[in-house]
């Protein structure tokens, strides 16, 4: 009898473990986030579930000061490719939940990546985006949370969420499905989507991810954490631009039409913006002649566009309605310290 009880208990445990795995939807997108079992609400907290592991990134994209909880579920240990990307297996589900502390008074300056439980009594959930690796490649899927924070529903056409942050009203814009590719398809010719944060150089807690069986240990470069003031100004600024701009501004990206390359591999010179005239900036020039005027952030198109919230002028084009004051300050400081001029 005792033995029988043990077996049943074992079976139950197995069962509960089985149902507690991420549910991979190989072809279509279910109507609610819960159907994936990537995240779960337990005791008033949003927590990873189904074998998902929280990861952090070194150079996060600014999204209106939203906090982000990122998870990866990987059915097998992903090898690290030579270029630093991870060779995930079909069935991998990556999530990113955008949320804000409620009753926020001061300016949010600490994107608290890595928090592995979001207390719903003090935070407001906005949206959760998934990148799912299917046989056909990576699929983007967006879910928008209801105000009661009980359910996130599929929203393919995007949404507008009016918010107030530190007294400033703004419209938080959830992108539509095509717009996901606007960032995640970094090669405009192949238009193949891939993760931007879940890569060797970007993952901050790499050791934890190795131990958790998400990725193999592999020697790849580490992208600088632009918030780390112990690092050099140049490393921080270049990492900020790479993290926030290079998905489009790379030699084969959607913004290669501009001739401006902000990836980490760009050479210092006109291709990286130094003394580079605008091509199709329109109102984005702010009246300035060069993307970067060395030593003169006030006369640089780059700082003007980062500090704008006009849809026709601002950069990045999508994904923010507020100015990232700390990011602008970093780029201003970087440009201010550049020597030389543009011969004018």
């Amino acid at each position: 009898m005792k033995r029988f009880v043990l077996i049943v208990a074992g079976l139950l445990a197995a069962c509960s473990q089985g149902s507690d795995s991420v549910v991979f939807h190989a072809a279509s997108n279910p109507a609610t986030l819960a159907d994936w079992n990537v995240l779960d609400i337990r005791q008033g907290h949003l927590v990873p579930s189904g074998g998902s592991t929280v990861y952090e990134v070194n150079a996060p994209l600014f999204t209106d000061y939203a906090h982000k909880m990122r998870t990866i579920y990987s059915p097998s240990v992903a090898p690290v490719r030579d270029d630093g990307s991870l060779d995930f297996a079909v069935g991998t589900v990556i999530s990113k939940t955008f949320y804000y502390p409620e009753n926020e008074t001061g300016t949010v300056i600490t994107p608290d990546n890595g928090r592995d439980a979001i207390d719903l009594s003090t935070h407001r959930l906005i949206e959760t985006r998934l990148m799912v690796l299917r046989e056909t490649g990576w699929s983007p899927v967006s879910y928008v949370w209801n105000e009661a924070e009980t359910e996130a529903r599929l929203k393919r056409t995007g949404a507008v969420v009016p918010l107030t942050l530190s007294g400033t009203d703004f419209a938080y814009v959830v992108p539509n499905e095509n717009q996901c590719a606007g960032c995640h398809a970094t090669d405009m010719t192949t238009k193949v989507l891939h993760p931007l944060g879940a890569t060797g150089p970007q993952i901050k807690n790499r050791g934890h991810m190795v131990v958790s069986g998400i990725m193999q240990h592999g020697a790849t470069a580490v992208q600088a954490d632009y918030r780390d003031t112990n690092l050099s100004l140049d490393d921080r600024a270049r990492s900020y631009l790479a993290g926030n701009c290079a998905h489009c501004h790379n030699p084969v990206g959607p913004a290669d039409t501009s001739g401006l390359d902000l990836s980490l591999s760009a050479q210092v010179g006109p291709e990286m913006g130094r003394c580079k005239p605008p091509i199709a900036a329109g109102s984005g020039t702010g009246g300035h002649k060069f993307s970067i005027m060395p030593g003169d952030p006030d006369n640089s198109i780059m700082t003007y566009r980062l500090a704008s919230t006009d849809p026709g002028s601002m950069m990045p084009e999508l994904g923010r309605g507020l100015v990232h004051a700390e990011g602008v300050a970093l780029i201003r400081e970087w440009i201010a310290e550049m020597d030389g001029d543009c011969g004018t």
Partner: protein
């Protein structure tokens, strides 16, 4: 009393136009964007009659899709209340047909088509309503890095850069279209094999521009501009300071900048107050001091101007230096010849700027020598060039 009522009615009308906040038609916005997301090759997405107010940019990524309205003045997508998106409509799918609708008042560009093969835009209107002003979006129609592009019967109004702009593309026809009240009416930039014909450009700052800019994926080459009406493009430049077009003088008919192999023929070009035709190098633009790569060719070579009807213009050039040059050389009541050249050429090589026009002379502004020897000259320009081939588009 009747008069008073009329006055009141007008006043109310004015008020309602200015003050009514634009209510987004969210249901339609969702419906249309969902149709764009779900579109499969061969699908036709229709835009019903009416003005549809949208607050976010639309995007189409699928191949082989047609978006069709009931007419450029009937099916209108209005972005007056736009809060997000750098354009009204972004197209990234191949072999897309856009026809018979309008995009109005987008915050950035009206329609951008990026990195695709096979573009047809037909009977579409892109417009910034109200005053032509600097705050308007940059480009009306904006295919860039595209191949096999047909733009016909479109209307572009009010762009603070170019109404119809084709950039870094190959195999392009822009025909039978109208561009008014833009900074640049039609601009072909860093594009290879383009035919621009049967168009009407008037009341822009510059009528038709053929530009080659440094630092881009490809240089421009082989552009034919013919059978167009280009007149009275005298509007004050309202481009954003710092943009390349902001240096275009008001009253420019056809402008060639740093571009090789351009044939301008059988156009009717008249009454553009700075000059009917301007041929220049990047050295006389805003960006004379920018650093170019060694591979960039800043000089316009092999420019063939012939068989045009040229009249009027050149009488009231824009900008102090041009005004002074005109007055010094031609008097207060005189005018520039039909062709204005900044004088930049590679060393002492013949740039082959060939003007085969009985009534046209060339004014060389001699900018390389600080205009010390401004002169009317024709000897250098009595030459001819082989005709450029017509553009043929590959069917998608």
């Amino acid at each position: 009393m009747r008069k008073l009522l009329l006055g009141t009615a007008l006043f109310l009308a004015a008020c309602s136009q200015a003050d009514t906040p634009v209510a987004t038609d969210e249901a339609y916005q969702d419906t249309l964007q969902l149709a764009l997301l779900d579109a499969k090759p061969g699908d036709i997405i229709t835009i019903p009659a009416g003005t549809h107010s949208l607050d976010r940019g639309l995007s189409l990524a699928a191949d082989g899709v047609t978006i069709r309205g009931e007419g450029m003045d009937v099916s209108i997508l209005s972005f007056k209340g736009q809060i997000a998106g750098a354009e009204g409509l972004l197209v990234t799918g191949d072999n897309v047909v856009l026809e018979n609708f309008a995009v109005e008042d987008s915050k950035g560009d009206a329609i951008k088509i990026n990195d695709t093969d096979g573009v047809t835009v037909r009977g579409v209107r892109v417009e910034w309503t109200g005053e032509a002003k600097t705050e308007n979006g940059a480009y009306g129609l904006y295919p860039v890095q595209t191949t096999n592009v047909l733009i016909e019967d479109v209307v572009a109004i009010g762009a603070s850069d170019a109404g119809i702009y084709v950039g870094q593309s190959r195999g392009v026809i822009v025909r039978n279209s109208r561009a008014e009240r833009n900074v640049a009416g039609i601009e072909i930039e860093n594009t290879q094999d383009a035919d621009v014909y049967g168009n009407l450009t008037t009341d822009n700052t510059g009528g038709i521009l053929v530009f080659n800019m440094p630092g881009l994926t490809q240089p421009g080459g082989r552009v034919r501009v013919y059978d167009n009406d280009v007149y009275e493009n005298d509007r004050s430049n309202f481009g954003h300071p710092g943009t390349p077009v902001a240096s275009i003088p008001a009253g420019s008919g056809v402008v060639i900048n740093s571009h090789d192999d351009v044939e301008i023929f059988e156009n009717r070009i008249r009454d553009n107050r700075t000059a009917n035709i301007i041929i220049a190098s990047v050295y006389s633009s805003n960006f004379a001091d920018s650093s170019f790569s060694d591979t960039f060719d800043p000089y316009p070579d092999r420019i063939h101007v012939h068989s045009n009807e040229l009249s009027g213009g050149g009488n009231k050039p824009d900008g102090m230096e041009l005004k002074a040059a005109k007055t010094v050389k031609f008097g207060l009541t005189g005018h520039f010849p039909h062709v204005l050249w900044d004088g930049y050429a590679r060393g002492d090589e013949d740039p082959k700027i060939c003007i085969e026009e009985p009534n046209a002379e060339v004014f060389n502004a001699d900018l390389p020598n600080e205009s010390k020897n401004m002169r009317v000259e024709m000897d250098l320009h009595r030459c001819t060039l082989p005709r450029l081939p017509a553009v043929t588009l590959n069917a998608g």
